[in-house]
Amino acid sequence: MLFKILDKSEFRSLLVMLLESHEVIAPRVIATGQDGRPLHNYLPVKTPEEMDLGYETTLNSAKTYFLPYSENLSTWDFNEADWTQNISYRMQPRAIIGLHACDINALLKLDKVMAREFYPSPYYISRRKNSFIIGIDHTPCRGAFCRSLGTDTVNRGFDLFLTDLGDRYFVAIDSDRGYSTLHRVTVRDVTDEDTGAYLEVRKRIADGFDPDLPVKQLPNLMDIEFNADVWDKWGARCLSCGSCAMVCPTCYCYGVNEAVAMDFTSGAKVRQLYSCNLADFATVAGGHNFRPPRESRLKYRYYHQHRGFVETYDEPKCVGCGRCSRTCLAGINPPDIFRDLLAKEEQS
């Protein structure tokens, strides 16, 4: 990995250049929360002032720019008894600025499902490769448990990654296009003093985390506690609203629906992100539902995050960003569930 030092004024020039020629997505304040702190989302921005790189977290993850909540897989033109199928993939590059380490780690996990091994998705790959990603370090957010999952740092999957050293950024470069883009403005080499400052910031961040959760035992624990009443307890509170999966940076389940235009000349096949918590997730024709009780669906989501994915990829799917906990109206959150599972295990 190459490292450079970028003065903040030069970074601003780089932003202006990007904004002039490309779509730019960045954290933006959208409202004020009940505690008086600003709430953010990743949204298109037109000026550097619109973005807030000092944000804590966002309500929604950035996954919609890679796996849109709704996307046309294809469109149909109908003529008499025949039809033509049109498929198009994203071709316009855009910059996504200010992703935190957990969200870049989430993309690396999605890459494994969407871009490798079997049936790699051209839809996803087009969006991924047309995204120029500038990540940024930050002080730990409340309620996040990324450090327990090892997703608080990242060393690939981005183009540039910034660490704030006050008047300048310490920049990690992970791609050729990152390198050439960075060199459109003035950068300088890293000195011993910069390295010292960088290590100090990294240490301060690392020290700011809550104590680790016992996630290493989770895959095993989940298997043993498959029938535990922990699931009944939390399941009873779940509203089956699906919000947790919507905001999650790694939840990728979807459904496909089709629609015909009012004049019957065209139609579309649309993929929409779904959630395994929704009641009809596993319902088949004839009405049979393979997961009727809501606790079985809640449990299934946790299984996919912390056991199923581990079986396939040797790592959990969850990156510990804490968005699902923040969004859940019923107060359902991974750390509490883990503690309950662990307590249950210790009892027996």
Binding site: L18, P93, P120, P122, S126, A282
Partner: protein
């Protein structure tokens, strides 16, 4: 000045330029592209089920389309939706696909309204298959309940077309009543194949019924084969295959020599949408065909 970021066009990747072939799972391809196919003929089987003979229109696509018994395709009615359907016929004629479809909802109802000559889209084949090659040289039990004969008809055709490769062949089929019997016009043909035994049973007889009455398991009791030299394929509702497989394993048949086909909701067929998951197993990729030992070990499977 050169732009900061260059557009990336996935269609320019070498793999994307190759002819579409869903059997090359690891290749980058137009995963949502349909083979355009024509419904060449429709045969009414029962009140709710019809058999569709489908032919892929483009000749080179037809050449490329090959499947193994047990695999399924996604059938598309543009503007209405897609449904996973097992291929129900022989795999010896390339690009000709037989699908036995029950009228069950949006897409299948549209298909039931279609006339010969209508066009549908096909993606696939997807999923695992029955290990017909491994079964060669052994006795084979092919057991179906209800609509289970739709997926089972493909191995049935395979064993009749390759009769000499197998030892004893028993086909057992049960439905609720005679009006539900699928492919009744073919029983005579199957029975005439030298050394193929076909037994049919219904749970409720009607006045015209002369055959046995009861469950498919009671047919099984009468079969006399060396179970340690036998493979079985069991297709039907979960209660049925669980019952049959448990009975066979109690009589000494290894559980990993019995194969079943699981049905789950599916929206992609390619291990992406998660709708088909049983625990952490993707039924569309690791199934729909599983051996019974694996099914017993899947959490929440039956």
């Amino acid at each position: 000045m050169t732009p900061l970021l260059f557009p990336y066009d996935v269609t320019q990747e070498d793999e994307m330029k190759r002819p579409l072939d869903f059997n090359r799972r690891s290749h980058l391809m137009n995963v949502d592209r349909m083979y355009k196919a024509e419904i060449v003929s429709i045969i009414r089987l029962t009140e709710k089920e019809k058999l569709f003979h489908i032919r892929i229109i483009d000749r080179s696509e037809r050449e490329r389309f090959s499947f193994l018994p047990g695999q399924f395709v996604m059938v598309e009615v543009p503007g209405f939706g897609e449904a996973p359907i097992s291929i129900s016929g022989s795999n010896s004629q390339k690009g000709f696909i037989e699908l036995c479809i029950r009228e069950a909802g949006k897409v299948t109802t549209m298909l039931h309204r279609a006339a010969p000559g209508s066009r549908v889209g096909i993606r696939g084949p997807f999923g695992t298959y029955f290990p017909m090659e491994k079964m060669k040289g052994h006795n084979v039990l092919l057991i179906a309940g209800g609509l289970g004969l739709a997926p089972l008809r493909s191995p049935v055709t395979f064993v009749t077309e390759n009769r000499s490769d197998f030892r004893q062949i028993h086909i057992l089929y049960g439905t609720t009543d005679p009006s539900q019997l699928l492919f009744d016009y073919q029983y005579e043909q199957w029975r005439r194949v030298d050394g193929v035994n076909l037994d049919i049973i219904v749970e409720q007889a009607d006045p015209a019924w002369t055959g046995p009455v009861g469950r498919v398991t009671s047919l099984l009791e009468k079969i006399d084969v060396a179970l340690d030299e036998t493979y079985a394929i069991v297709c039907g509702p979960p209660v049925m295959f669980k019952f049959v497989c448990t009975m066979l394993s109690n009589q000494g048949m290894p559980r990993d020599r019995m194969f079943v086909s699981l049905e789950r909701r599916m929206h992609c067929g390619m291990g992406k949408c998660c709708r088909c998951n049983v625990g952490s197993t993707y039924v569309c990729m690791e199934g729909p065909v599983f051996d019974f030992w694996t099914v017993m070990n899947l959490k929440e499977a039956i």
